[in-house]
Symmetry: C2
């Protein structure tokens, strides 16, 4: 039993392997920011989607509600995000990013811009890659 001719590696496998490579870089690159990858994901969602209640934030980021609690506690203690009572629903919290949080995102973007992880791609190819990623994410309710 051999693999059939023209066997195509499932794309998911390739992305996963690429993410494992990137994971090492991530901690190395963003380590100096003092917060981890999930916290940055949350900040990105808050910066782009405005104030969100935690349930929506969990849907957007695909981070579990339970994990999100500890994450927001950490972000609040660093004054990077804020929980405020939602006037429309006393059960919910309106979570928003702070100015310090936005400043940290800008620093993170600068760090990634200096990184050469995508050096193998030309600027044009990278733009294509980003566009395709965005389409995929949008198609899945990102």
């Amino acid at each position: 039993m051999a693999l059939p001719d023209g066997f195509q590696l499932p794309t998911g496998f390739v992305i996963d392997r690429l993410m494992r490579v990137a994971a090492g870089r991530w901690t190395e690159l963003y380590g100096e920011l003092g917060i981890g990858k999930p916290a940055l994901i949350v900040l990105v969602a808050l910066a782009t989607e405005g104030p969100l209640r935690q349930a929506r934030l969990s849907e957007q980021t695909r981070i579990d509600r339970a994990t999100l609690v500890a994450l927001l506690n950490e972000l609040e203690s660093h004054d990077l995000a804020r929980r405020a009572p939602d006037p429309a629903d006393r059960r919910a919290h309106a979570v928003s990013i702070t100015d310090a949080g936005r400043a940290l995102l800008v620093r993170a973007a600068e760090l990634e811009a200096r990184d050469d992880f995508f050096a193998a791609l030309t600027a044009r190819e990278r733009a294509t890659f980003d566009a395709l990623l965005g389409r995929l994410l949008a198609a899945h309710g990102g």
Copy 2:
């Protein structure tokens, strides 16, 4: 403090969010295969890179040596991979995929082919996406 005009979301963040969406699909899609995502990653590496000693396998897949031990135990118990003594180095094990392992990979590819995770992309766009992924992976020693 607001985000600067034309602020570009770091690509790493976008990939991470996309992977979180895909992670849920993975378990759902490959659940019936009876093994998890890391085990499939190992099988892919073994199928494409031939017999590998565990140290090389760990480098290729970016799965920790320690985690790999338990993973190979599981794969061996299901007769999907084999550990054989390496004649050239009595410390090392030559790990290879079995016919059953290859058959499972073919099934996995069929499952992903039926999935519509990339339905938002045309066949041409998906080919471009795969090619760019492959370039990135190759550039990082995949």
